[in-house]
Assembly symmetry: none
Homo-oligomer: 146 residues x 2
């Protein structure tokens, strides 16, 4: 029987398990990850699910994949690199006079605010806030609720 949980997607759980294994040395840097078949057996998941999990790790820089060979654990996980930036918060705010003036809209107009930080060697180097006018799609819920 397949496993129909939903709270946390299987591929994310598996990605997390693998990430932890890399972090604590279970999979040494530079070593090949277990083969797809091995992971399929171990996690009782389909290949597609395993591949999705590995895709997450690849995206996040934990592993590198080579066609026909396998996926290697990277020696330098995301941290300690030159400068990593990550979004820490996204929300909607209303334009203060300052922002309203810059955008040329009315004060109180809803804006998208994205806050990201850039880290280098563990320390926060800069905080960047980017404001954008809402997309048309997102505007739906902001005006004229029925």
């Amino acid at each position: 029987m397949p496993t129909p949980h939903y709270g946390q997607p299987r591929y994310r759980v598996i990605a997390d398990a693998l990430r932890e294994r890399i972090e604590n040395g279970g999979i040494p840097a530079g070593a090949l990850l277990p083969t797809e078949s091995a992971l399929t057996a171990e996690f009782r998941a389909a290949r597609g699910t395993i591949r999705q999990a590995i895709g997450i790790l690849r995206e996040a820089g934990w592993v590198s994949t080579e066609h026909g060979r396998g996926s290697y654990a990277n020696p330098r996980p995301p941290e300690g690199g030159p400068a990593e930036s990550s979004v820490v918060r996204q929300r909607q705010i209303t334009a203060d006079p300052d922002l309203a003036d810059l955008f040329g809209v009315a004060v109180g107009t809803t804006l998208d605010e994205s806050t990201s930080i850039t880290r280098a060697e563990g320390a926060v180097r800069s905080v960047t806030r980017t404001y954008q006018l809402l997309s048309a799609a997102a505007q739906r819920g902001t005006i004229g609720g029925d």
Copy 2:
């Protein structure tokens, strides 16, 4: 006989076709894309392949997807034209609790604030504020901390 070509994966071809449709207005900004079912019929591809294609577009910022609703074309494709950004103001501010927390410093610490706007086709597309800690030299004499 599934799995015909390889030179260009199906999902990439489909993603390209959809992207072009958004670019030339076939799918207006803010409008919903055809449903996954409709696209499977149109491109004669499996749903997974369609989802892969849409995933590419989402990754690239062309579309946004909402569970139970659909995927709609974004009004801000990745740089529709020459986007110029210019710094409009630079000043020093004191860290509010929010910024202080992100930087890991005390509230009231002096920060450098740089505000820049990005324009495209005359309109202000985004306002970006970057905060940075002052250099150690500049710190002296700015606040009362000893």
